[in-house]
């Protein structure tokens, strides 16, 4: 097996996907519905990353009070929702995970 070939082709493919629409955009008329849909990409993808990384611990579902990631995540969500401030949210979340990990 040639690992260098795999790295090169895998890198080329990854770049191609990252470049795809950045390259194509502006070369054709984007339908309005698609434009509206693209607006939901960050919300949908990031939420789909957030939820499992809080709730799934060592490969299984953990919705107990022992799950420090979930608890600190909820603290962060509440702070983010009420303050609408990125920095406060990160500080509150870090503080929460620190306290929960120590105790």
């Amino acid at each position: 097996m040639n690992i260098w070939l795999a790295i090169f082709l895998g890198g080329l493919l990854t770049f191609g996907m990252r470049f795809s629409f950045i390259y194509l955009f502006g070369r054709f008329q984007v339908p309005r519905t698609l434009k509206r849909a693209l607006h939901y990409v960050p919300t949908a993808v990031l939420s789909a990353i957030i939820v499992p990384s809080l709730v799934i611990r060592s490969n299984s579902l953990d919705v107990t009070f022992g799950n420090t990631y979930l608890l600190a995540g909820i603290v962060a969500i509440v702070v983010a929702w009420t303050t609408k401030n990125t920095l406060y949210t990160i500080l509150a979340g870090l503080l929460a995970i620190l306290i929960l990990t120590i105790i």
Partner: protein, 235 residues
């Protein structure tokens, strides 16, 4: 004074700096991830040069970890390449979503910024672009976010190769990733379509977690996008 301070804020360097600053919390989680990757890839038998090359050529954490696993299983090249492709499918969504904001930059910039378009660079940049007015130097924000992640990823990979995964597993450093994403997404959830999009994507991601190659993530993203789009159409 007003005009002057506006001018200072619009310099390419100011945008670059803002992007790098927004990236900072994400570097906290990328660093140990790079260490773990470096140590793991070395252990499966890859040469240090190949381990480092994968970080600079593929530049996609989860795909690199899975590739190491496939090397251990002696998978053929086409299986590895295909797997990398499926795991990184979500980058096409990022590409489509960020494309309108990069439409005016030169092809050279489009190539460079596409190469740097990881999860961690995309997230703060798209939030910035949707909030701020687009200026001729806006793309420097993505460069600041992407380049600081790139440097961190290369250094942490090298350290992983040299010293192994030295950080104790009990340290909750990987919490920095979901935390930063929460800090970016939750404040922009302003209306019902947005909230429902987030909730449905999160729910599907959980239900489909067992699917291989992060296909659950792709499925969840599409459900969230469709729910948001349909609800917005109704309102």
């Amino acid at each position: 004074m007003g005009a002057q301070s506006k001018k200072a804020k619009d310099t390419p360097y100011a945008f670059f700096q803002a992007g790098a600053r927004a990236e900072l919390p994400l570097l906290i989680s990328a660093f140990p991830f790079g260490l773990i990757y470096g140590a793991l890839a070395l252990r499966v038998g890859l040469s240090p040069a190949a381990v480092q090359a994968m970080s600079s050529i593929v530049f996609a954490g989860s795909a690199q970890i899975v590739t190491s696993q496939l090397v251990l299983e002696a998978a053929p090249v086409f299986v590895i390449v295909l797997t990398i492709g499926v795991i990184n499918l979500r980058h096409m969504l990022y590409s489509a979503s960020i494309a309108p904001y990069l439409q005016k930059v030169s092809m050279k910039w489009k190539v460079l910024l596409s190469y740097l378009l990881t999860d961690e660079a995309y997230a703060p940049s798209i939030i910035h672009y949707e909030k701020q007015e687009l200026t001729p130097k806006s793309h420097m924000f993505l460069l600041g976010a992407g380049a600081s992640l790139w440097i961190t990823w290369q250094i942490s990979t090298a350290l992983g190769i040299l010293v192994g995964a030295a950080i104790p597993q009990s340290w909750p450093l990987d919490f920095a990733l979901p935390l930063t994403f929460i800090a970016l997404v939750v404040p922009v959830l302003k209306n019902r379509p947005g909230i429902m999009s987030a909730l449905s994507a999160g729910t599907v991601a959980l239900l489909a977690y067992g699917l291989p190659y992060e296909l659950g993530l792709i499925l969840a993203a599409f459900v969230g996008i469709i729910v948001g789009t349909i609800l917005e159409g109704h309102e």
